[in-house]
Symmetry: C2
Subunit: 154 residues, 2 copies
């Protein structure tokens, strides 16, 4: 739990320091990377867990997918919302809403909720109990939706 | 170590079963997801580790980046090289060489080498010794290059 808190704290610090950290990554690459993390890698791994919960359950596949999601969640993606990434740039489109860059309190809440839920899913998935994974998976889904509802255009 | 071997074994099994597993994911999405994992998420996180090794070293950032890389490496990306992903499809381009789909032995070797190196980097990064991370990071880089040299067009 200490580790989880430390990771979330780091994630938050990364977000707060987005301007500094993202200076090294071009705005269009920040958008590309954040889409790769959320829309592609996380979607793919969430989809695998969903398929396991709805079909035959492979503990190793679910644990691996949950670890990938948690690993990405903990990697400081907040740094990919730096200046110049509020709208399409360099051929990269984005559905991010302006509030993502102004509502610090709200963004911190969805980020912390998501990281906690993702880390919990990885922990639960390691134990291999499908019923518990179903609950933890639903919790992650809720945090995805909370962020999309508030900070992403349809 | 047992866990690492188990993960690699699972990765290999995932690769072997690519046809079955990838049936659920459209070929163009498989290409999109594998590019997201390798070209975007891993590049970004490798870049962060490199920046830490060349500048001021933040143990937490390096550990988080290494965990993201390992998490993705262990997620069974072999399943994203299913039938129909040998060439551009549905607007998704790919630089994959035909040998990726025929050289089973060679592909297994680069995949196992990469997974081992990525898991070792995560382990070493957790300890926080920058000199050791530099070595482990170099080993991961070599396995990236080995695969690109053999199975990716320039």
């Amino acid at each position: 739990m200490k580790k989880i808190i430390a990771r979330i704290a780091f994630g938050m610090a990364a977000f707060a320091l987005a301007s500094a950290a993202s200076a090294q990554v071009k705005p269009e690459d920040q958008i590309k990377y954040r889409k790769a993390g959320y829309s592609y890698m996380m979607s793919w791994n969430m989809g695998k867990i969903k398929a396991n919960l709805e079909g035959s359950y492979n503990k190793d596949q679910v644990a691996a997918a949950a670890n990938a999601i948690a690993g990405i969640a903990n990697s400081g993606m907040g740094a990919l919302y730096g200046p110049g990434t509020e709208k399409a740039v360099g051929g990269q489109t984005t559905r991010v809403k302006p509030a993502m860059f102004t509502d610090k309190e709200g963004v911190t809440k969805v980020a912390v909720d998501f990281n906690k839920a993702a880390n919990n899913l990885a922990k639960v998935a390691a134990d291999g109990d499908a019923a518990a994974v179903k609950v933890a998976f639903g919790e992650v889904g809720k945090t995805c939706k909370a962020c999309h509802d508030q900070y992403r255009e349809e």
